[in-house]
Amino acid sequence: MSTITLNNITKTYNKGATLAVDDISFSVDKGELFGLIGPDGAGKTSIFRMLTTLLLPDKGTATVVGYDVVKDFQKIRGIVGYMPGRFSLYQDLSVEENLNFFATVFGTSIKENYDQIKDIYEQIEPFKDRRAGKLSGGMKQKLALCCALIHKPEVLFLDEPTTGVDVVSRKEFWEMLKRLKEQGITIMVSTSYMDEATLCNRIGLILGGKILALDTPAKIVESYPEKLFAIKSSNMHQLLKDLRINDTLLNCYAAGEYIHLSFKNSSGENESLLTKYLQEKGQTDLVFKETVASVEDCFIRLLGNPDGNSN
């Protein structure tokens, strides 16, 4: 049974001039941690806002826990937790007051659902009398998550929860999501950090309002069609320039300390020819090896080639 379903959802802005979400259909199963991965402006937030009943879709239907997002919006509002990308709690109220306020508007109390937020709330409890606006970035996220969880929602929508949060806090945050998932809460999360994608059960790669690929992170990586190579030399800047003018390559781009590349055809001579070419160009200390594609590689490939064809 799918907890979230989208059928041909389309959303435009400026009276149809800007297409934000383009005929998207997918579903999220109960208890799943689903990630929407894509760059800024891909349409992630629009999807979140439609599913949380803040925005009406132009076309198509969507349901959350079986309720229609247009007709049964009141019911949905009682059973979902939403954490927008921007910190939007009352900055002039304290941590405890914010939490108390949101508990009350959902018709519950902190005491009643304390077990739901205990793990997270304990971390910010020492600061419970501090104004929310004076918290650090990571603390704010934890408080926002508490506020989204206080009414025991069945589905949690987290829109870019880790943007602007330091590496340690990001890691902690995903640990928390994992624990929440174990409690049976369906979670839909969006991010523009590719490394977070592997932490989801399934991911949807989204660009320009379209879903380019949708599968488990492992399957998406497996489906990378070409062999992927990593290369580095003593002069990386020149190396990238030299590679870009080589016409046997399908693509090449910087990825950490290496440059990732793949060839247009799968001839066995490719590697030796390229090494020779680079040596002629005067590159030294060459390290050239085959590597495993990551979600980021898949995404970059789809960006360059949205149709998914290898040529």
Partner: protein
Amino acid sequence: MRTLKFLLQKEFRQIFRNKALLRMMFMTPIIQLIILPQAANFTIKNINLAVVDLDRSVYSQKLINKILSSGYFKMAAFTPSYKDAYELIEKDKADIVLEIPQGFEHNLTRESSQKLSLSVNAINGVKAAVGSGYLNKIIQDYNNDIRLEWMQPSTINQIPTIEVVSSNWYNPTLSYYLFMVPGILVLLVTLIGGNMTAQNIVREKEIGTIEQINVTPVKKYHFILGKLIPFWTLGVIVFTMGLVIARIVYGIIPLGSVALLYLFLSVYLLAILGFGLLISTYSETPMQANSLTFFFVQIFNMMGGLYTPIDSMPGWAKFITEIIPISYFIDVMRMIVIKGSHFHDVLMHILIVFLMGVILNTWAILNYRKTT
């Protein structure tokens, strides 16, 4: 009800935590009510008078003394010719030139008639009109004085004269404060009520908390009531402070029923808060809300009948005063405070403002729905 209670609790907590807002809300009325009426005073004083006395006689001296002793005029200069006096007007050193022609005394005593010339600098229209009015009155007085002096007791009854004695009803001493302070108080309540409401809701929009509230099961009317009730209360508090200041500083005690004043205030605040709510639905940022409020407050200020009487406005302007709520409140304030009007005198005002409140709030709520 429980939700509403918590919304209100949250709202009051935020208001009392916002030091800048509190200061503005309570200091503005105090300062404005004490300073504004003293400065924005219509009593024209210190009119600069240039005198061209070509006669230099006892009578001309008497006239000048009488004018100066009235207290309204300040002697700017004695000039030998009209030309010199006109120069003073051009340099803005003199407002009125009084020219006493040569042979003033002679002609007055021999031919029983004489002409004086007044030249008024009309750049400041109010000063010019009021100043020349004063001067005319003084000269007329002077005229009567000398007539009495010359007349033979037997002939007094032979010349019929009409003397006009006016008595100022409701404001016998023509106190400017009695007229202005209640009006300025209305303006303040309007400004605070309208602007604060708009600012507050737009702020929630800007920081995104309104979205956070929208995904909760909180009902629209809960949210709106949660906003209206606190600001309604604040409006009543500010108004009360204003009445106390009027009593202490200006000794103004409403002649009519204070309860009736508060009844009207309650209805009026409903309309003004609805107005603030409406502005908030049309603005995305506090800056936009500010500009919009500023635009309307200017209109309220100039057309509400606070400074200039509505009856002397042109027809289209009268129409505008009829559709802005502030003109009704200023009117009612003056009626109750100065004249001591009763409930049935202001009933029509109450009904009209109530209707405005219903329209503004309905409009705001409909528009609020549409945008979310």
